[in-house]
Each structure stands twice: as structure tokens, then as C-alpha cells.
């Protein structure tokens, strides 16, 4: 029957065409080149971290000849957006680096694999219980913390010394910090610091110094528009005085150390997390040192030890075992630990921390020493931020842009932010 044949032909041609269309967007974990398993591993960071990661991955590939790890990395902002798109499209990489802010959303959205399923290849016995629990949502271990980090004031040692302003001590309050930045700006002719007004992290430290928090236990907003107005009034004034970076420079921040004023050589200090601060070493060869974050006026510390970042495995990976092996390698392998150093924070594996700690070199040693100096002095970390925080981090920076370009008063911008935040946290 010619009629039928045509129909059948039609259907098969249609099926073929559809296959061709779908083949273009194959899922993750397909095998390629010589029958090897290909694992996609993505992370954010800087060239320093990239170099060490590549070395560690090469070692992993040597130990697992049947696995080929394809890595990719970018700056934090770009990474965050790309990963969200991939995850939404069901195309999340097999192994992905995650931030504290992403865990909740990704876990509840079904993107991440329950790592208990891969217990046999992924050891967690040597990780501090409390720290390990930060990767858990609803009692399921979705991610493993990779390191411990804390915020710090990184500074250009030579410029600071030459200015004649006394070097920072073991602690300072926000008003002492502000006076120091003013003095630095006056002596060096460039702003003392990156304008901290744009940073939700710096705001959190300031807020905690007053015994408050970004979020309440129930995941609501832990501060009022009045709190934020005070913070932005404080930073706005410093900016107008030239003590912190001007709007034109602040707006270029994208989460990479290269685009901070300190990284560009246009300021003396930068508040940052301690692990990425190692990226400054390559940018400021004359020396970088770390000082603690300012505390509240009564000496209450605002900074805290935070899991610096996590590793998670995609729920849709075709090779859960190999992916878990890679995670295990990055966290528990002593050789990998030697290569990685403190580039992702001080290692979480206690044996490794004890073993490699004294052997850390160069800036890794600086970071370890800095953390040791804070040990026992800090308050407990806050619980993991609610899902909406992921978007609010950008909103915070953007709303502050309106202040630093003098388009809104600190009060107007703060009220805007609180309105937006409340809407974001409700949905």
C-alpha cells in the first residue's frame, strides 16, 4: 500500500529529524573519545586556583585512567548565572562547586544527588561534624564543604608601610577602621579600601557586630530598613570623603580579585574572603597580608568561620560513582591536599589539616595563621541562608549603586532593598 508506506516513511523521517534535534542537547556524562567516561567539573575562582585545580585533576586522571575530567571555571557572578541556567535545563555538570547560598535552592530543587548513596567511595568520617552538617538539607547530605574560610581585610603591605600609618593590630572596631582608611587615603592619595557598602558580606559582619543577623531562624529578614540606612549612611560618607573607592570603581566589582580596586592597584586594602585573597599575591608582588574584619564598637566580632564552598554531584549524572570519587579525591586525598593548599580554604579533613597544616607554604601559611589567630574568638556561624538570598546578593550591590552614584539617599535605597528582599523571601 503506497499510502501506508508514505505514512510510515513520514513517521520514521520525523523520528529521525527529532533525534537529530535532540542529539544536539544530550545530557551530561556521555562517554567520548576512546570510550573514556567524561566528568564535567565546574567551579569559580581565579587563575591561582585554576592552576592548582588543573594539577590536582591531572593526578586524579592518572589514578583513574578510565575517567576524563573536563573542567571549566569563571568568576563568581558569571558562574552563578551559568550554573543556574544549566541546572534549570537539567544539564548540571557532574561535579559542581557550590556556595553556601546555593545549597538550599539546589537541594530542594532536586538538582543534587543524595551523597549517602555513594558512601562506599566518598568518606566523610574525618570531617568536622558541625562543618559537614552545613551541606545538609532536611537531613540529607547534598554537598560536602571543601574548606573553612573567614572574611579578612587583605592589604598591600608595602604601600601601607610607606604611608606611615600604623599597621592593623589584632582587632579594630568599625570606627577605628574608618579612621585608618581616612588616614591611608590622606597619606597615599588613593582610597584606603573598596567601598564595603556594596557587599552583603561586609554588611553581615557589621550587623553581627551589633548582635543582629541577616536572616531570622525562620528565613525572614533579620534587620530593618533603619539598620541598612545606618550602614549605607556610614559607607556613603566615607566614599564622599574619598576614604573608600569611588562609584566608578565599585561598580566594576564582579566577584573576582582582579577587578577589585586593590587588585588594580588603586586602593590599599580590600575586604574579601581569605581563600580568594591568595589571588592578590600574583597581582601585588610586593606583599599582601591579612588583618581581621572590624568588630562592633563594644568589641563584638562580626566575622565567623564559614564553609568556604561546597562540592555537590548532579542528581542527573550518568556516573554517580566516578563523580563521588572525584569529590572524595578533592577533599580526602593527601596528595591532592598538598597541591590545593588553602586555595579553597583551610582543608576540612582533620587528618589532612593536622598533617599538611604545618607544611603549608607561602600565602597558604598566612591564611592558616590568620585563621589560627581567630580560633576561639568568633561567634557561631549563622544557619544557611534561605533560597532567595541567592538573588538578593546582586540586588544589594545594585541598590547600593543608586547610593554611590548619588541617585538615591541611603534611606530610599535601604527601603527599596527591604521591600524587594521581603518579596523575594516570601516567594
Amino acid at each position: 500500500m503506497p499510502g501506508h508506506r508514505t505514512k510510515g516513511f513520514c513517521a520514521s523521517a520525523a523520528a529521525l529529524a527529532l533525534c537529530a534535534v535532540l542529539a544536539g542537547c544530550g545530557g551530561s556524562g556521555e562517554s567520548a573519545g576512546g570510550g573514556k567516561i567524561v566528568l564535567r567539573y565546574t567551579w569559580w575562582g581565579n587563575p591561582d586556583r585554576a592552576e592548582r585545580t588543573e594539577q590536582a585533576v591531572a593526578l586524579f586522571e592518572k589514578q583513574h585512567p578510565d575517567v576524563d575530567v573536563s573542567t571549566s571555571f569563571s568568576g563568581y557572578d558569571a558562574y552563578k548565572q551559568k550554573l543556574a541556567t544549566q541546572a534549570a535545563g537539567g544539564d548540571a555538570p557532574d561535579v559542581m562547586q557550590l556556595d553556601y547560598r546555593q545549597i538550599d535552592q539546589y537541594a530542594t530543587g532536586g538538582v543534587l544527588l543524595d551523597l549517602a548513596e555513594q558512601k562506599s567511595v566518598l568518606r566523610t568520617s574525618e570531617i568536622d561534624r558541625g562543618l559537614l552538617a552545613t551541606g545538609r538539607v532536611d537531613d540529607v547530605q547534598y554537598a560536602i564543604p571543601q574548606g573553612r574560610g573567614t572574611e579578612t581585610v587583605a592589604y598591600d603591605v608595602r604601600t601601607w608601610k610607606e604611608s606611615g600609618v600604623p599597621l592593623p593590630g589584632k582587632s579594630w572596631t568599625w570606627s577605628e577602621w574608618a579612621d585608618t582608611m581616612r588616614a591611608l587615603a590622606k597619606k597615599t592619595g588613593k582610597p584606603g579600601a573598596t567601598d564595603p557598602g556594596q557587599s552583603e558580606d561586609a554588611f553581615e559582619v557589621w550587623l553581627r557586630g551589633q548582635g543582629k543577623a541577616l536572616y531570622t531562624k525562620g528565613g525572614g529578614l533579620g534587620f530593618t530598613a533603619a539598620d541598612l540606612t545606618r550602614w549605607w549612611t556610614f559607607t556613603d560618607k566615607l566614599r564622599r570623603e574619598g576614604a573608600v573607592s569611588p562609584a566608578e570603581q565599585t561598580t566594576q566589582l564582579d566577584g573576582s580579585v582582579e577587578n577589585t580596586p586593590l587588585g588594580r592597584g588603586t586602593s590599599v586594602t580590600d575586604a574579601n574572603w581569605d581563600a580568594p585573597a591568595s589571588g592578590f599575591v600574583a597581582l601585588i608582588p610586593t606583599g599582601v597580608a591579612l588583618a581581621p574584619m572590624p568588630s562592633g564598637e563594644d568589641g563584638t566580632p562580626g566575622q565567623y568561620f564559614k564553609p568556604s564552598m561546597f562540592l555537590g554531584v548532579s542528581a542527573g549524572t550518568g556516573h554517580p560513582k566516578e563523580a563521588a570519587q572525584l569529590v572524595d579525591f578533592m577533599i580526602n586525598d593527601p596528595e591532592a591536599a598538598k597541591i590545593l593548599g588553602a586555595s579553597r580554604g583551610i582543608p576540612v579533613n582533620e587528618t589532612i589539616r593536622a598533617e599538611t597544616g604545618p607544611r603549608l607554604k607561602d600565602f597558604d601559611k598566612t591564611i592558616a595563621g590568620f585563621q589560627a589567630s581567630l580560633e576561639g574568638k568568633l561567634k557561631d556561624p549563622p544557619q544557611a541562608p534561605p533560597s532567595g538570598d541567592n538573588a538578593l546578593q546582586s540586588t544589594f550591590q545594585r541598590d547600593y549603586d543608586q547610593v554611590s552614584y548619588a541617585r538615591m539617599s541611603p534611606r530610599e535605597a535601604a527601603e527599596n532593598y527591604v521591600t524587594e528582599a521581603k518579596a523575594e523571601l516570601r516567594s
Binding site: 503506497p2 534549570a88 539546589y106 561598580t251 538573588a391 546582586s394 540586588t395 549603586d401 552614584y405 516567594s427
Partner: protein, 312 residues
């Protein structure tokens, strides 16, 4: 369509029974050959459009199943979101700056190239090249570097970095588009060459100078092409994304000054994970572009001149 597609010999086929079969077989074959494109249209265009329309009535965070919220996204957009309106104003400003500038530049260059005797090919390619390159991310990044503080423009004009100034950043973005005037230029050039030389000769005999000739011969004769370019470039300008995205490093900054409509749409969808809201924005954009195009067509009746009209 079916009747015109039948070749004459089929129409004259003798028996009714044999007349049908070949037609159906031909249709079948046609569908087989068309299937990749039909499927493409359905899978890659119609289906996503339908899904997006559905999503625009939902709350969808990309990770959890969409929740039906009716018209809430649309209501929120129009009544509770100042940033939405900021993006609308930014986009309109951009369209008003970029489109006339680009068309004017395209026309001027086309006129200059038309009369050129030697090196025509070279100049045409040279002016068209930015249109091929300009859409790429790399050029947009170069643009950012040029207009950044400490960049070329800063050094030459001492105006500081444009991309870091709320008042100037949008202009830097518009200039990137204006610079890509190659496509309308080529169309203008083709249009100019269609104008009969006799008209200019006749005008010259009547004592018309170059300027008069331009106004009385070139402009009316070129008006259909001008209209075509205007519609096309306006539609494109409303959808501007890449230059704004690259020049502001994906943020629409400084201080939301380059937050064009599609950037905000992207921000809502992929940064804030509000896909439902982003979808609603997309549909409003489609509607607005439709309306603007319709209005342009309306006004065209009064200023576009088709040579064939004279015959009627």
C-alpha cells in the same frame, strides 16, 4: 496553496481515481522533505512560545514545578516594580538614540559610496565588516575596554570612562549598535542604485542643486527602502541585549543606567530565578513591538512613496 501547487499536467489527468493518488503522494513527499523545518518550527519555536505563555501566568523558579498565579506577574510588573519601568524608559531612550543615528549614518555612507568610482568594493566591505563582527561578544568586550576608565576614549577625550558613568553608559551601548550600520547601508545602496538617472538629469535641467535633488528625488524614491530599514532596525533595537550585557558586564549598571528591557528580563529569569515573571515580560515586549510596528505602518501611508502608485 493546494490548487496552485498542482502542475498543469496533473490538472488535465483523465480519470478521477488516478488524479487523487499522485496528489496525495506528492503531498506526502513534500511533508517528508519539509519535516526537518516543520519539526524545527514546532519544537524550537511554537512549543517554547506556548510554554512561555503558560509560564507567564505562573510562579516558576526553574527548580520547582510552576505554580499558577493568574495575572499576578502582569499586575506586579505594571504596578509594583519601579525597576521594570526604569528598564522601559531606558529601552525607549536607547531606541530613540540608536535607530535615527544608525540610519542617518548608513544613508550618508551609502550616498558617499554610490558616487565612488574606484575602491568601491573595498570601502563597502570595510563599512560592512562591523556588522559581521559587532554582534560578537569579543567586540563588545573591546568596546567596554575602550570606554572604560583608563581606556582609549578616556585618554583621548579626558572624559573619564563612559561605561562607569550613569549618564554616559547608555550612549556607549548605543554607539556600539550605530557602528554596525552595515546592513541598512547595503540596503540603502541597493535602493539608491534603483533610482533612474533620468530623474536626476531632469532635475538638473530644471535647475535643482545637489541638495534639492536629494530632497526631491532621492528621499521620495528611497522612502520605501527607508521605511523598510526603519521598521527592521526599530524591531531590533527594542530587543537589544548583547551590547548592553557586555558593556555593563552583565549587570545593567552603573546604577541601572543600561538596564534595557531584555537585560532586566534576563535578570529576572536567570539571576533572580523568576521565570514566570520573565516570560510575562517577554510577552509584553512582543505585544509592544507589534503595536509599534503597526503604528509605523500606519504613518508610512503619509510619507512612503511607491513609484508604482503613479501609474494608478
Amino acid at each position: 496553496m493546494t490548487t496552485t501547487a498542482i502542475p498543469p499536467e496533473a490538472r488535465h489527468a483523465p480519470a478521477a481515481a488516478s488524479k487523487r493518488r499522485p496528489k496525495r503522494e506528492r503531498e506526502g513527499a513534500a511533508w517528508v522533505f519539509l519535516s526537518p523545518w516543520v519539526l524545527g518550527a514546532i519544537v524550537l519555536t511554537l512549543l517554547p512560545m506556548a510554554v512561555s505563555l503558560y509560564l507567564s501566568f505562573t510562579d516558576y523558579d526553574l527548580f520547582n514545578p510552576p505554580k499558577w498565579v493568574g495575572l499576578r506577574n502582569y499586575v506586579q510588573m505594571f504596578t509594583e516594580d519601579p525597576r521594570y519601568w526604569r528598564s522601559v524608559v531606558t529601552t525607549l531612550t536607547y531606541v530613540v538614540i540608536a535607530v535615527p543615528l544608525q540610519l542617518a549614518l548608513a544613508l550618508v555612507v551609502a550616498l558617499a559610496l554610490k558616487g565612488m568610482k574606484r575602491g568601491k568594493g573595498f570601502y563597502r566591505s570595510a563599512f560592512y565588516a562591523p556588522s559581521l563582527l559587532g554582534a560578537s561578544m569579543s567586540i563588545a568586550l573591546v568596546w567596554r575596554a575602550v570606554f572604560n576608565d583608563g581606556g582609549t576614549v578616556d585618554n583621548l577625550l579626558g572624559t573619564g570612562g563612559w561605561v562607569n558613568r550613569p549618564g554616559w553608559a547608555l550612549l556607549a551601548v548605543a554607539l556600539l549598535t550605530v557602528w554596525q550600520f552595515g546592513a541598512p547601508m547595503v540596503i540603502f545602496l541597493a535602493g539608491l542604485q534603483q533610482i533612474p538617472a533620468e530623474l536626476y538629469e531632469a532635475a538638473a535641467v530644471d535647475g535643482a542643486g545637489k541638495w534639492r535633488q536629494f530632497l526631491s528625488v532621492t528621499v521620495p524614491m528611497l522612502s520605501p527602502v527607508l521605511f523598510f530599514n526603519l521598521v527592521l532596525q526599530t524591531i531590533q533595537a527594542f530587543q537589544v541585549f548583547t551590547p548592553a550585557f557586555a558593556v555593563s558586564a552583565g549587570k545593567g549598571g552603573p546604577a541601572d543606567s543600561t538596564l534595557v528591557y531584555t537585560m532586566y528580563l534576563y535578570d529576572r529569569g536567570f539571576v533572580a530565578s523568576h521565570m514566570g515573571y520573565a516570560s510575562a515580560m517577554a510577552w509584553v515586549l512582543l505585544l509592544v513591538i507589534g503595536i509599534v510596528t503597526a503604528v509605523l505602518f500606519r504613518t508610512s501611508r503619509s510619507w512612503v512613496f511607491y513609484a508604482s502608485e503613479g501609474d494608478r
